[in-house]
């Protein structure tokens, strides 16, 4: 007896916002191209339900000082360019990055304690060295984040850069800087749907255009809490698609940082033989963290290893086709 199946489509009432990173000369910036993320009207890559207007993109992490604490595999893969943020960013651009995620690590109190002048110089130099839109991260310590991110926002006026991270303890300062200089913010909350919504509301209360907010739900790497991030992202995306406007911001995941922190990626001494070849395992650790989160709704993944960039790009190509 023949069975006839009608394609089971969901009727989604909401849609993810489109957020534009970078500004070209025509828009008052100097970027060679801008990058638009978001706009999804269905769950990731369900092309039978709605077309995906923009592909997920890859940001490559660049630091403003030699990342001595990185895995030797990363140090080897990048080589000499790690000494110079401009050379590093240029190489990342050549490797096919869509965005540069510049991390101002040298501003951390333990790592050089540089200030706003150095931050401005680095941001200007990197903007000059590449044509890609920029994300700028502070060192991850609230006071110093405020200092260098405000400086970065000013130095990059008109470039529509994204400032990270904007958290509940410092959002006022970061949002004010974004408002003053026309930048975006990355609203980061610790793996929780309600906290993510709440921070978006607080930022909205300061009158920052919702089209200037990216959400970072906090990334757990493969084996280190990935499932928490995965499910929170699925819940956020489902909420967005069912019309909750405070969850409709595109999502960004700091995959490289988290994946390369995992023991499986970082070291190869005293580990079980069943973990397999170090290099292959490490790259796959980063790649699978990235693709799994992309399939949960990530619009931007920040990566570290050049090979991961190539593999994830290929996966995105395949997911977007058809």
């Amino acid at each position: 007896m023949p069975v006839t199946i009608a394609t089971p489509k969901e009727k989604w009432t909401g849609r993810v916002r489109e957020v534009t990173l970078g500004a070209t000369a025509a828009e008052g910036g100097t970027r060679r191209q801008k990058v638009v993320v978001g706009g999804e009207g269905t769950l990731p890559f369900l092309h039978f339900e709605a077309p995906a207007p923009h592909r997920p993109v890859i940001a490559v992490e660049v630091q403003d000082r030699y990342p001595a604490d990185w895995s030797p595999l990363l140090l080897e893969a990048w080589g000499d360019v790690l000494e110079s943020p401009t050379a590093w960013a240029a190489k990342a651009e050549a490797l096919g990055a869509d965005l540069i995620a510049l991390s101002l690590k040298s501003a951390s109190p333990e790592g050089g304690n540089t200030g706003s002048a150095e931050a401005q110089a680095t941001v200007r130099a990197v903007l000059e060295a590449v044509g890609l839109p920029l994300i700028v991260y502070g060192p991850g310590q609230a006071e110093k984040d405020n200092e260098v991110l405000v400086a970065a926002a000013e130095a990059a006026k008109g470039e529509r850069i994204a400032l990270g991270n904007c958290e509940d303890k410092n959002y006022r300062t970061i949002v004010a800087a974004a408002l003053a200089h026309g930048q975006l913010v990355i609203a980061r909350t610790p793996i929780d749907v309600n906290l993510a919504k709440q921070l978006n509301i607080l930022i909205g209360d300061m009158r920052l255009d919702p089209d200037r907010i990216l959400m970072d739900p906090t990334t757990g790497a493969l084996g280190y809490g990935l499932e928490y991030t995965y499910s929170v992202m699925e819940r956020l995306r489902l909420a967005a698609l069912t019309g909750d406007s405070m969850t409709q911001m595109p999502m960004i995941c700091t995959v490289g940082e988290e994946a390369w922190r995992a023991k499986e990626a970082k070291v190869n001494t005293g580990v079980p033989a069943a973990w397999g070849d170090w290099h292959e395992r490490s790259v796959l650790w980063e790649v699978l963290t990235a693709t799994t989160l992309i399939e949960a709704g990530a619009d931007i993944v920040v990566l570290r290893h050049p090979e991961s960039v190539a593999h994830v790009r290929q996966a995105i190509d395949r997911l977007m086709a058809g």
Binding site: F45, A273, R281, L284, T292, H311
Partner: protein, 448 residues
């Protein structure tokens, strides 16, 4: 799909005879709906009602078992589209493909490797599940030989791949005593293939060509031929097409209770993948998005270990977080003078703290308290992480004998416990560490 109490009530005799032990038929129906009573308690129920209720209580996605020796792969019985809605119950079986054109020695060595692969993660064993043997030669002899060789070498659960029913019968004979998956029935061969699977009492995969109506029709045909245990292959090979097909099948089974597609699925991750990494990406998608069986074409620990880790992550019950065993954890080979930090046994908490200490490159002792798998603040609020429990952990683990100092670092979030803990642990200096794990490296740098 389960019936509501009222729907069940309409099927009952509605005599309120009380023979079932409940005052009214409605009360009994409510208990049935809540699965707190058995229909057999009603002596007057009609055969028709019995059949209806049984059908309604059957799981929307059938449980399928493939087994050999003491190994068993159960897939199916899933009830949700998203793991946060409840949980995913049966993790997909991970199989590795060999072809009968490979030498017997090759088949045997792969079987042994797959069977011998075992690694522990968060206290749980991770292993691959079985072999998929493909009849690439197109002949019965080599196929049967390869199956016999794999069976002898590893006694792993098997997937037998051939479109030729006669060859399949020859292979099934060699696999007797096990319960392999027969792959696959198609438009062209389903009658013979169903007969072969039925005779061997083995589950049968049906393969479509992208059209779900045709796939469902094929599944119904096979079922009509007496095969109840069915696995679906929608016949897609691209990443997004497989994702769409498996999503649609899961929706149809769960939301529309469409029995014709109420079966687990199979995905060939290596098909169309240009590299082992591309294969791993396809397998990862299949793990998160609804596959029952996943067949790989590469066998490499560096690929299998990340996939098994992902499978463990995705199939963790969100309501029952994984715990780590309480006790002392040594990080970066600590010495007696290294710092001692205390935290709870919620796996994510443990991993955050251990990861930061490890990432800092500083040796340290981590005392993990039994807080019933809760994070620091949750456990503190629930009274599962208090001074008494911490003091008990210090005493029972004997950590005091391993270190040359008596300094204990508390998580910053429970700084309030320090006074009480000093009373519980006379002679110890209680220090308050950072609130967030991420600040641990900086804290350890200044720890003396």
């Amino acid at each position: 799909m389960a019936l509501s109490g009222l729907e069940i009530y309409k099927l009952l005799p509605r005599t309120n005879c009380k023979k079932c032990g409940y005052p009214t038929c409605l009360a009994f129906a409510m208990k049935l709906a809540a699965k707190q009573a058995e229909l057999s308690a009603c002596p007057d129920v009609s055969a028709e009602t019995q059949a209806k209720l049984e059908a309604a209580s059957a799981p929307p996605i059938r449980l399928i078992t493939v087994a050999a020796g003491d190994r068993k792969v159960d897939v199916g019985n899933e009830t949700v589209l998203f793991r946060h809605e409840k949980t995913f119950f049966h993790q997909p079986g991970l199989f590795v493909r060999v072809r009968d054109t490979q030498s017997t020695a090759e088949v045997q060595s792969l079987a042994k490797e797959v069977a011998g692969y075992n690694v522990e993660r968060v206290g749980m064993p991770l292993a691959a599940d079985g072999l998929a043997i493909e009849n690439a030669s197109g002949q019965a002899g080599p196929f049967a030989e390869a199956v016999a060789a794999a069976h002898a070498a590893g006694n792993l659960p098997l997937i037998l791949i051939s479109e030729n029913p006669a060859n399949m019968k020859a292979a099934l004979e060699k696999a007797s005593g096990t319960r392999p998956l027969v792959y696959a029935a198609t438009e062209a061969n389903w009658k013979e293939m169903a007969a072969a699977a039925h005779a061997a009492k083995a589950p049968l995969a049906v393969r479509g060509t992208g059209d779900l109506s045709a796939l469902a029709t094929l599944a119904e045909s096979v079922k009509g031929a007496g095969v109840e245990d069915i696995v679906l292959d929608p016949g897609e090979s691209s990443l997004p097409a497989t994702l769409s097909a498996l999503t649609q099948l899961r929706r149809l089974a769960l939301k529309q209770n469409l029995r014709a597609v109420g079966y687990p699925t199979i995905v060939f991750a290596g098909e169309g993948a240009e590299s082992p990494v591309a294969e791993a990406i396809a397998a990862a998608q299949a793990i998160a998005k609804y596959a029952g069986f996943i067949v790989l074409d590469h066998w490499a620990a560096s690929e299998v270990y990340p996939l098994l880790t992902l499978r463990q992550n995705i199939f963790t019950d969100p309501q029952k977080p994984i715990q780590v065993s309480p006790g002392i954890y040594e990080i970066n080979n600590p010495k007696p003078e290294s710092p001692l930090l205390v935290t709870t046994n919620f796996s994510l908490t443990y991993f955050s703290v251990a990861g930061e200490v490890e990432g800092a490159g500083m040796p340290g002792w981590l005392l993990v308290c039994d807080a019933e798998g809760m994070s620091v603040l949750t456990a503190w609020a629930a009274g599962k992480f208090d001074a008494e429990r911490i003091a008990k952990a210090v005493k029972t683990t004997g950590i005091g004998d391993k270190i040359s100092h008596k300094k204990l670092v508390l998580p910053g979030a429970v700084a309030t416990l320090s006074g009480e803990l000093e009373e519980e642990l006379p002679g110890w200096e209680i220090r308050v560490g950072p609130r967030e794990a991420i600040d641990i490296p900086a804290y350890l740098k200044v720890w003396k």
